[in-house]
């Protein structure tokens, strides 16, 4: 088995999930509670990775990160190397690609918190931020858990975007799904089977754990 690829995938998935939590909590809060008329536009943009072929997303990301785009040039000026085919580029792509898997469970959970509880907290002198911390977040733990698990699992298994943006550099951008693909291409079925089985077991355990924790929720069969 390609332990290097497995380690890289786990590291990438962890960082992606952490970054998504950081971006996702405020964005999902906004989506759940904003009354802006153009909110649906943001919702559509956030949901795009669900329907877009990964190669299309990867292609545009590659263009945006390239040395000919202002963003790509700015990054190169700041950090001394380009984004495509680097771990940082891969991380950025993963965050965008898994965005809906974090945002949707979070926004759904926040929106289902009784508005009366939020108002009760305001009337007791607590700010919006503190109300989020003391009421909304604790009551949304199932949705937050779901977002974390789905983002992590989704990043672990991504393939198309990685291939487009990250390429296949061992130790830098070769993730576990790329490693399996490589092994199959090389007719090296035995390690491919072992790696695939490992991914299968990990996915199954993570989802079992999540559903088990959520089994007292109202709609246990749906994660989003």
């Amino acid at each position: 088995m390609d332990w290097q690829a497995i380690r890289l995938s786990l590291w990438l998935a962890s960082l992606t999930t952490a970054a998504l939590l950081l971006v996702g909590l405020p964005l999902a809060y906004w989506l759940a509670f904003s009354r802006r008329r153009w909110k649906f536009l943001v919702e559509a943009v956030v949901a795009m990775p669900l329907v877009l072929p990964p190669t299309v997303l990867g292609f545009y990301l590659l263009m945006a990160m390239g040395p000919r785009s202002p963003f790509g040039r700015a990054f190169e000026g700041l950090f001394g190397h380009t984004l495509p085919f680097s771990f940082e580029g891969l991380l950025l792509a993963s965050v965008l690609y898994s965005l809906p898997f974090m945002i949707q469970p979070l926004a759904a959970a926040f929106a289902s918190v009784d508005k009366g509880l939020i108002e009760a907290s305001w009337c007791l002198g607590e700010s919006r931020l503190r109300t989020f911390r003391r009421v909304i977040a604790p009551l949304s733990w199932a949705g937050i858990l779901t977002g974390v698990v789905l983002s992590f699992a989704h990043t672990l298994g991504e393939f198309g975007v990685v291939l487009m943006v990250g390429g296949n550099l061992p130790g830098r951008t070769r993730t576990v799904s790329i490693a399996i693909y490589d092994q199959v291409q090389a007719m090296d079925y035995a390690p491919a089977a072992r790696t695939a089985a490992l991914l299968l077991i990990v996915s199954f355990l993570v989802l079992t754990f999540t559903y088990a924790l959520r089994r007292h929720q109202r709609k246990p069969w749906t994660l989003i």
Binding site: G116, W122, G125, L139
Partner: protein, 364 residues
């Protein structure tokens, strides 16, 4: 001297719907202002305007000389800065927190010992001792109501807002808690605004009445004045009973209570434990009128009151007879019956009333 609370605000909703909240509370300290009206009349919105949960589209709200809201200046104090205790209709206790944590929720700025002490006081005050570690889901309706009230009182607010505080409870608990609630509010000495659609609750808990209908304030003032002199038939219809007068229980014997009302005495069924001060409610349909002040014939009606007709007015097939029998009394009879007796203003008659038709509401 301006009133303590001056509320004159409007909230506009889609579909040309406007809810207005227009009333005053004269003094700080204990008083209960009841927002009364049918459901959909805008009572809850008025309360939410006071709490700052709704933003006024027109008008202003001032409390103790401080503006809380002023649409003309785009001023809107958020609920966090209003120092109100708000008891929502559904109680909205935090389901993930214990009773003690719910009570102490608004005390985050206090030190832990101060907070614990205050929670202890509230547990004592609201008779919740022993329940501090329970969660809201494990409480009865009455216990939940007391926790919600305690949570609203924890920060010693300047204004208490109660939205149908007893409506989620069963009828016997409602009747029992009305008395307790008024005693508690008196002890707390905080001005209170209370929303209800229950006439008995309004009469028992209120000092001042604000009658609302279809988003408008129809009438407001001292509770007795509003019941005595509704400004228009719509208000009278909302209030629902024709006669509401203050009375005093003089004695209770053999299941009958003797009540002095104005210069008259009437008998009513003994309603069990009551304070000495009561509101006497009598429906116009329950009052019959006889010619002359003749001696009592054999009848089950316990009250025969000599009276003088002070007014007659026709309402559809009915005639409303206004009587003075030591207190103002309204009777509703068919127009035909009124014509047969040839009743006219100034006539001396006898008002007949079954004791069972006299409804008493305690009001200390």
């Amino acid at each position: 001297m301006d009133a303590h609370l001056i509320c004159d605000a409007e909230r506009h909703f889609a579909g040309d719907l406007t809810i207005e909240a227009r009333f005053e509370i004269p003094q700080p300290g204990f008083s209960v202002t009841v927002l009364f009206g049918p459901s959909g009349s805008g009572k809850t919105t008025a309360l939410r305007l006071l709490a700052g949960l709704e933003r006024a589209d027109r008008g202003s709200i001032r409390v103790g000389g401080t503006p809380w809201s002023d649409a003309a200046r785009s001023l809107h104090r958020p609920p966090q800065a209003r120092d109100v205790g708000f008891l929502p209709q559904a109680y909205n206790l935090f389901p993930h927190l214990s009773v003690a944590a719910n009570l102490g929720y608004g005390l985050a700025s206090q030190s832990a010992p101060e907070r614990t002490a205050r929670i202890g006081e509230l547990l004592q005050l609201l008779d919740l001792k022993g329940l501090e570690d329970r969660h809201p889901g494990e409480l009865s309706g009455g216990q939940q109501q007391r926790v919600a009230l305690g949570r609203a009182l924890a920060r010693k607010p300047r204004l208490l807002l109660l939205d149908e505080p007893l409506s989620a409870l069963d009828r016997p608990s409602q009747l029992r808690l009305r008395k307790e609630l008024r005693e508690l509010l008196r002890a707390l000495d905080i001005p209170t605004v209370l929303v209800t659609h229950d006439r008995g609750e309004a009469l028992q808990l209120g000092d001042r009445l604000v009658v609302m209908d279809q988003g408008r304030v129809c009438q407001s003032g001292d509770i007795q004045q509003v019941f005595d002199r509704p400004t228009d038939p719509a208000v009278a219809a909302i209030l629902g009973v024709e006669t509401v007068v203050r009375g005093q229980i003089e004695s209770i014997a053999g299941g009958m209570a003797t009540i002095s009302v104005g210069s008259a005495r009437i008998l009513a069924a003994d309603p069990g434990s009551l304070g000495w001060q009561v509101f006497v409610c009598i429906r116009g349909e329950d009052v019959a009128v006889e010619r002359g002040g003749g001696p009592a014939t054999e009848s089950t009606a316990r009250n025969r009151l000599p009276a003088r007709i002070t007014g007659l007015s026709t309402e559809g097939s009915l005639t409303r007879i206004s009587l003075d029998c030591g207190f103002p009394l309204e009777s509703l009879v068919t127009r035909q019956a009124c014509q047969d007796l040839g009743l006219a203003e100034g006539d001396a008659v006898c008002a007949i009333l079954k004791a069972a038709a006299v409804h008493l509401i305690p009001h200390d």
